[in-house]
């Protein structure tokens, strides 16, 4: 890498963008929209995820991580094992068992906080009443729905039914059939509570407190999806669009124009190496995309810029998008082809993500930058960053690395053509 040559190439990109009236108009429009959003936005209005998606696509079974932490008695592992073993096929893709740090889970159950709920998810959280005691005589079970409690009904029914069968088996009774003797989960929570108390008295006998069926306090509430306020959703979308516009649309479009007209070749015939040409583009478009995203966020809510997670996210997503942009510009022979490529890429990835979500296809979404981008940006902009967001950030960094590496390889190959 020769810094003076890279700087010359960087200046060229900057000058071309300054002279690009269409690009300047789009940037001005985005900034105007962000200013409007910042001025007129109301405090975040929570919207139920069910309203967006019409149900839950995943229901988490949160339980204290008994394998890492000494907690309760051996009934909890058996209970969880029973639940795992009796997941009906129709819920196999939706139910996700999630071990958690006991103190954190207990605290969050009581304070009605979420552990990191995404759009269209709910949870059933199980916690011993007194985690440090040798025998857990009582449990707390919280049903967390995303705004409409009926969307979790099927999961609640399964949980109550299977828990009852487990305790019956613990008591040496013949478990009821899967479909029988279930409590209607749409009833009020006190009905579930009293039905369990009745069941416990019946199975445990006179000395109810020492029997195989523990006391369970049932709670029900909505998950706190603060991230779903529509204003921050728009801000997130603008951030994402700004980066996509710079890195996946503008950059391939102008690079392919240079290739189509022989200008890229003319530059490659100077002492500038393929690596210099690549760096000249990367060092302009990626920071420019970050800058525009930050500018939009500044207009919307300046406090977000103080969140380090926001910067990590914007850096990662813009880097990944730059990689995608370079790959498109390497594949497209003409400027028109690059524009079409960017559009087709966006449509294809969006469709794949929708299909994966609709059909519960596991794994595939994790290969798309567009899977991570909205989630991470939403978390950063709404300042609701959970542990799993950091895991997703790692995934995003990996994908960005894959794209940039692919871009370097392809750019070097194409520079010889």
């Amino acid at each position: 890498m020769r810094p003076d040559i890279v700087y010359t190439l960087w200046k060229k990109e900057a000058r071309r963008q300054l002279a690009n009236r269409g690009g300047a108009a789009m940037i001005a429009l985005l900034i105007a929209a962000a200013v409007l959003l910042g001025i007129f936005s109301r405090p975040a209005v929570q919207t139920g995820a069910a309203n967006y998606l019409g149900g839950v696509h995943h229901c988490f079974i949160d339980y204290p991580d008994y394998q890492r932490f000494a907690i309760g008695d051996d009934r909890l592992p058996r209970w969880i094992a029973h639940l795992r073993a009796n997941v009906p096929p129709e819920l196999a893709q939706q139910l996700v068992f999630r071990p958690y740090i006991p103190e954190l889970l207990a605290q969050r159950i009581r304070t009605e906080e979420t552990i990191g709920f995404e759009i269209g998810t709910g949870a059933i959280q199980i916690m011993p009443e007194n985690p440090s005691a040798g025998v857990a005589s009582a449990y707390v079970v919280a049903f967390r729905h995303p705004g409409d409690r009926t969307v979790l009904a099927h999961y609640e029914a399964w949980f109550i039914r299977e828990s009852r069968r487990f305790f019956e088996r613990e008591a040496g009774l013949t478990p009821s059939t899967p479909d029988g003797n279930a409590i209607n989960p749409t009833d009020d929570i006190w009905l579930i509570q009293s039905a369990h108390a009745h069941f416990r008295d019946r199975v445990n006998g006179p000395d109810s407190s020492n029997g195989p069926v523990p006391a369970i306090e049932f709670l029900r509430g909505r998950v706190r999806l603060k991230t779903l306020d529509s204003v921050s959703l728009i801000a997130m979308a603008m951030n994402l669009f700004a980066m996509f516009f710079f890195c996946v649309y503008l950059m391939p479009s102008l690079t392919s124009e240079e290739r189509e007209r022989g200008l890229l070749l003319q530059q490659a015939l100077t002492p500038a190496a393929a690596g210099d040409l690549f760096l000249g583009k990367l060092l302009f478009y990626q920071p420019a995309a970050m800058l525009l995203a930050a500018l939009l966020t500044l207009c919307y809510d300046a406090r977000v810029l103080t969140v380090p997670f926001y910067w990590y996210t914007v850096w990662t997503v813009s880097m990944g998008f730059t990689g995608i942009g370079v790959v498109i510009s390497c594949l497209a022979r003409t400027q028109r082809g690059a524009s079409m490529g960017a559009m087709c890429y966006l449509l294809a990835v969006s469709l794949i993500l929708v299909i994966c979500q609709a059909l519960n296809i596991p794994g595939l979404p994790y290969l798309a930058m567009e899977f991570y981008g909205p989630r991470l940006l939403q978390a950063a902009i709404s300042r609701q960053i959970e542990l799993y967001h950091w895991r997703e950030l790692v995934g995003a960094v990996l994908m960005a690395t894959v794209w940039v590496t692919t871009a370097i390889v392809m750019f070097r190959r194409r520079s010889r053509d």
Partner: protein
């Protein structure tokens, strides 16, 4: 040592052989014209010389350096002017040249840019955006860009296409001056008059093969058709070939009988010569 040394160069596009065993040496300080119809292999040869096409066989050496092995050494030693204009339209002529001058890491880029703009007579339009340039101005700006780093070897693809007579003279003068200074120029053109005016030697390519290699004068001598166009007093016209005895006798008879109103010998007809050499129309 030749400036450009092609030895049994073969280039293929799949099954199609674009250049077949081309052996050619262009000397230092020579202005060499490469001629041929479309698809003859001229552009492919240039693409090999600028490193854009890997040869299927043979060897290429530029100023003694092997093209395959020493590409990074060769890159700054040549300038390339393509047949299609390619500038940043949103930049001025000066900004375009300055960008490339900086890429070439010239020691005094501003002065060199001014010098090149003056050389192609674009100094007055230097600060006008290239989007407002005429085709001729764009081509002259390309030549200026090619000269920026003062390379010892120039590859020019139809450098005078779309230029007016004066601009053609400017380009010819620049090229002759460079050749006089010991630099080498390889140009492709369709214009035989241009070849005769400035080239030291000419190579004619047809279907990937070199079919003629000589000076323009020798080429003219060996392939010139000695035709005479005769206008008769009765208004009719005849074309007579002086190489044929019957035509010579007919011409003598016409002159003796006083039937000739006007008579003129034909100029060298490159197209006819080309047809004679290749059996193909020059495209």
């Amino acid at each position: 040592m030749p400036a450009i040394d092609l030895e049994a160069l073969t280039v293929r596009y799949g099954e199609f052989v674009a250049v077949e065993s081309l052996t050619l040496q262009v000397r230092r300080g020579e202005l060499f014209g490469l001629l041929g119809p479309n698809g003859a292999g001229k552009s492919t040869t240039i693409r090999v010389l600028i490193g854009q096409r890997r040869p299927a066989g043979g060897r290429v050496r530029i100023l003694g350096y092997d093209l395959q092995q020493q590409w990074d050494t060769i890159k700054p030693l040549f300038g390339y002017m393509p047949d299609r204009e390619n500038h940043f339209d949103e930049f001025t002529g000066r900004q375009n040249l300055r960008f490339f001058a900086d890429l070439y890491r010239l020691p005094a880029p501003a002065a060199r840019v001014d010098e090149c703009l003056r050389a192609v007579e674009l100094d007055e339009a230097a600060d006008v955006k290239v989007g407002g340039y005429s085709m001729g101005m764009r081509r002259k700006l390309m030549l200026a860009r090619t000269l920026l780093h003062d390379p010892p070897v120039l590859y020019l693809d139809e450098p005078t296409a779309n230029l007016d007579v004066h601009s053609v003279e400017v380009v010819h003068r620049i090229l002759r001056k460079r050749v006089a200074a010991g630099k080498t120029v390889l140009l492709t053109t369709h214009d035989m008059d241009e070849v005769e005016a400035i080239c030291d030697r000419v190579g004619i390519l047809c279907r990937g093969k070199l079919i003629a290699l000589d000076t323009p004068l020798n080429l003219r001598r060996s392939h010139e058709a000695r035709l005479v166009d005769v206008a008769l007093t009765d208004g009719s016209r005849q074309t007579l070939d002086l190489d044929q005895p019957a035509h010579r006798e007919a011409l003598a008879g016409l002159v003796a009988s006083g039937q000739v109103a006007d008579m003129k010998t034909r100029h060298f007809d490159f197209h006819a010569a080309f047809l004679k050499l290749t059996g193909t129309e020059f495209d």
